[in-house]
């Protein structure tokens, strides 16, 4: 298709957004925004197919987690259904040295970082505290408290600058994920202030999925969220969050700006949470079926599939193979989740101090002895 500007149309929010792939699967070659920035992607056929595989796989793994929760095997689950493109597009735009700060819903970003998808299940199954080494994976722990990770990310990003790791084409950048509801939190606004003032190498990636649990977007803001960035002194841009290509292009450009020392960017990925906020929520109580139907037509996976088919980049056998592979991964994940061992009570003394302490050691020994005083005890 032709070169375009920020698209505006019936299904598109006022003010438009960057879109490179329409819901019908039509490619828009380049998009130039009002400030003169041009966005495009130049993927090989193999890379296009890879993105499709990512989208299908993260959706399938997510649906398995939803089922496991309904079957009593997980305490709770926050589904990413509908937000696959926002997560895969931004996750694939990260370079190995970049650091990501997720919320509790970024299963797709985690997957794109090459991390074993089982990692967060200990938290949701209640067999561990959801702790892992953020430095090992360049992926911070899931943060449940709304918005607080944006401050952690800001501090981390300021540290990157102090370490002299910005200012080059191969510099380091930080991405902080949060939702539309988090933009009403003080922490998020504080992190905007600090990042702006200190020119921190950070990308604020807001997945605007239209609802803060049950509170609709119009109760969160009077201006489009991306426009808030102007008040803090850095650029904001809105992208079609159901378009994996545009999300990739916009995130990559923002990350490159950050690593080059150009400071923060706020990205509003305009998307929709097709499922419940978490497994404890019932969205039919606060939104209309017609609204959900309208968003179904903008599905991130079906538009990429339509594009791949039309361009003959992929055929039926490829799609079938991806589905089968995702299914096999989901069943494998299920088996491993069911096999997760329950933690032993003494493990609560682990990870209190990095190198232990005499006091904790004594408490652990006493507690182990107490546990061992019961019949049939393994300890």
């Amino acid at each position: 298709m032709a070169k375009g500007e920020s698209v505006a149309g019936s299904d598109i929010p006022a003010g438009g957004f960057v879109q490179l792939l329409t819901p019908d699967g039509e490619r828009i070659d380049t998009v130039t925004t009002a400030d003169g920035t041009t966005y495009s992607v130049d993927f090989t056929d193999e890379e296009y197919r890879g993105l499709y595989r990512d989208l299908v796989t993260v959706r399938r793994l997510d649906s398995e987690a939803v089922a496991l929760q309904r079957q009593g095997e997980l305490g709770i689950w926050a589904s990413l259904l509908g937000q696959e493109a926002a997560q895969v597009g931004s996750g694939r735009a990260l370079r190995p040295q970049d650091m990501a700060f997720p919320t509790y819903r970024e299963h797709g970003v985690l997957y794109c970082r090459g991390i074993d998808p089982i990692m967060p299940f200990g938290l949701f199954r209640g067999v561990d505290q959801g702790g892992w080494d953020p430095n090992e994976f360049k992926f911070n722990t899931y943060t449940i408290v709304i918005g607080s990770q944006t401050l952690h990310a800001t501090g981390y990003a300021m540290g990157v600058t102090m370490d002299g790791k910005t200012g080059s084409a191969d510099g380091e950048a930080v991405i902080a994920y949060f939702g539309d509801g988090a933009t009403s939190q003080g922490e998020v606004n504080e992190s905007f202030v600090w990042s702006g003032v200190f020119n921190a190498p950070i990308v604020f990636f807001c997945q605007n999925n239209q609802y803060a649990i049950s509170e609709p977007l119009e109760r969160q803001t009077r201006v489009p969220l991306y426009q808030r960035a102007g008040g803090y002194g850095f650029p904001g841009i809105r992208v079609d969050g159901n378009d994996v290509l545009a999300t990739y292009a916009v995130t990559r450009a923002a990350l490159d700006n950050a690593r080059n020392g150009q400071g923060p960017t706020l990205i509003e990925a305009y998307t929709y949470r097709m499922g419940a906020h978490t497994s404890s929520d019932d969205p039919t109580r606060y939104r209309n079926g017609s609204e959900v139907e309208a968003w179904k037509a903008k599905d991130p996976i079906s538009r990429l599939k339509a594009f791949l088919s039309k361009q003959k980049i992929a055929k039926k056998d490829f799609f079938a193979e991806v589905d089968a592979s995702a299914q096999a991964q989901a069943l494998h994940l299920r088996e491993r989740v069911l096999e997760m061992p329950d933690p032993q009570p003494v493990t609560l003394f682990d990870n209190v101090y990095p190198n232990g302490s005499p006091e904790i050691d004594a408490q652990r020994a006493a507690f182990a002895e107490y546990q061992a005083s019961f019949e049939g005890s393994a300890h």
Partner: protein
């Protein structure tokens, strides 16, 4: 290991204790796949579909639709290896140990579930009616509440060390109705320490109750708040009273029906209480001659614009309300104590109270003031039809700004309706009866009805309420002339 597996109702939200089976999507004998939706369950938080945990053949469904099931209880049994050469499924006597009542505590096993025993130490303890009070995030444990016995240690008062059942008091299970049975139990005098939580101890001290004389019905025989209150109210706290008085034998439980408070009934009750105790209500009445309205309806029915439309007196009442709101916008408002504001709405989402099989609901016609009379007629019919079929979507029930309750359809003259929460006025529309009435100086038989308007006196003064009601009456007395003069 049995090839027939029983699936227990899981905690579907965070800290839920029960769920209602809405509908089974499979039946006994069906072959099902892993993750195939099998049942819809409604909890306090959400109505959800549960996917099958195993593939196989359904051998038993434990509860019919409409049943409220405790978390942790089996709901379905699935033969996971159908067609294998083992004995055919014998659903009636399911071998799975988890579901057997198994009175023996099976001491050595750490995994013996006592599914219906609440865990000791829950905040608040089991609440009346058998429900366990839950604050946030953590539900009652539905797995084992029993402890493994200690090795070679003396008997501790709170730990069962032998396979004998725990003290009688600890056996009162959450599911057992709290009631007369307790009052007939003789007060105990114990020697050991009394188990009670600090707030309960304070309550007992405040009320002058000696905890050692109170029967504990909480976990491990601990004394609960209810026990303390019961001890105060019980006429005989001293030595055991004689058996139940003769009167109680006549009105025993077999002659009482216990209906769980849930669903629409529960919601209605909460709304009524919330409204009745926050908004000071005033109700005014006006009796009006609606003969001309009835004639106007007849004329409307004959007009081509209304061909095929079902129109009723409710339509004109609705129109009267909408026109009167335009003249008195303040009645279409809500009290926002949180922000210290009165929110006056420029749109009328007109609620119509509807009696349905599931109870009272008040769906509303959105932005009813913008509809033509024909559109309004269709919207009202659609609203009532949907409500009767039980399919009213939640969005139709929220956001109402002003409501009408049509008690006339029950043959009632009028009433003093309670405001739906968030609304400031509600009109009761009574039966229309042929009545002797002074018309143009002579007594005539006229069609007469009585309107009752309840309003929130914090926002609407008597004068405004009276003018609003007077205008509704004026319209119904002469709709054609009123329409011409007001619009």
């Amino acid at each position: 290991m049995s090839r027939i597996k029983e699936f227990n109702l899981p905690d579907l939200g965070e800290g839920l204790t029960e769920g209602e089976i809405l509908a089974w999507l499979v039946k006994v004998g069906d072959t099902i796949e892993l993750n195939q939706p099998i049942v819809e369950v409604e909890t306090a938080k959400a109505a959800v579909e549960i996917p099958a945990k195993w593939g196989g053949v359904v051998t038993r469904i434990f509860h019919e639709a409409g049943t409220v099931v405790e978390v942790g209880k089996p709901i379905i049994a699935i033969d996971t290896q159908p067609g294998s050469s083992e004995e055919p499924p014998a659903p009636a006597s399911s071998p799975a140990p988890a579901s057997a009542p198994a009175p023996s505590p099976a001491p050595a096993s750490a995994s013996s579930p006592a599914a219906d025993e609440a865990e000791a130490g829950l905040i608040g303890g089991p609440a009346p009616g058998g429900r366990t009070a839950v604050l946030v995030g953590y539900g009652p444990r539905t797995t084992s509440a029993t402890r493994r016995p200690r090795i070679g240690t003396p008997v501790a008062s709170t730990t069962a060390t032998t396979p004998t059942p725990p003290p009688a008091a600890a056996e009162v299970r959450p599911a057992a109705p709290v009631g007369p049975a307790q009052e007939t139990v003789a007060p105990v005098v114990r020697t050991g320490p009394v188990l009670a939580k600090p707030p309960v101890r304070k309550l007992a001290r405040d009320l002058g109750v000696d905890l050692t004389t109170v029967n504990g019905t909480g976990p491990l025989g601990s004394v609960t708040r209810d026990d303390v209150h019961l001890a105060v109210s019980s006429p005989a706290r001293e030595p055991a009273p004689t058996a139940a008085s003769p009167a109680t034998a006549v009105f025993d439980a077999s002659r009482e029906q216990r209906i769980p408070i849930k669903g629409v009934r529960k919601l209605t009750a909460e709304n009524m209480v919330a409204s009745a105790f926050t908004a000071p209500h005033v109700t005014e009445f006006l009796t009006v001659d609606v003969t001309r309205s009835m004639k106007a309806l007849e004329k409307l029915r004959k007009r081509p614009e209304f061909e095929g439309a079902r129109i009723s007196p409710l339509l004109l009442v609705a129109k009267a309300v909408l026109l009167a709101v335009k003249r008195h916008p303040m009645v279409n408002s809500s009290w926002s104590g949180a922000t210290g504001e009165i929110v006056v709405k420029d749109y009328v989402n007109l609620g119509i109270a509807a009696a349905t099989e599931r109870g009272l609901i008040v769906p509303n016609v959105k932005d009813a003031g913008r509809l033509t009379l024909r559109e309004l007629a269709e919207a009202l019919n659609e609203l009532v039809r949907t409500a009767k079929s039980g399919k009213t979507p939640p969005a139709d029930m929220s956001g109402g700004t002003l409501s009408i309750t049509n008690v006339g359809v029950f043959g009632i003259d009028t009433g003093t309706p309670i405001l739906p929460p968030g609304e400031s006025a509600i009109l009761a529309f009574g039966a229309i009866r042929p009545t002797p009435w002074v018309h143009k100086g002579k007594i005539r038989i006229r069609e007469v009805t009585t309107l009752g308007l309840s309003f929130d006196h914090r926002i609407i003064d008597g004068e405004l309420g009276s003018r609003f009601l007077r205008d509704i009456g004026a319209f119904l007395e002469d709709p054609e002339a009123t329409l011409l003069s007001w619009t």
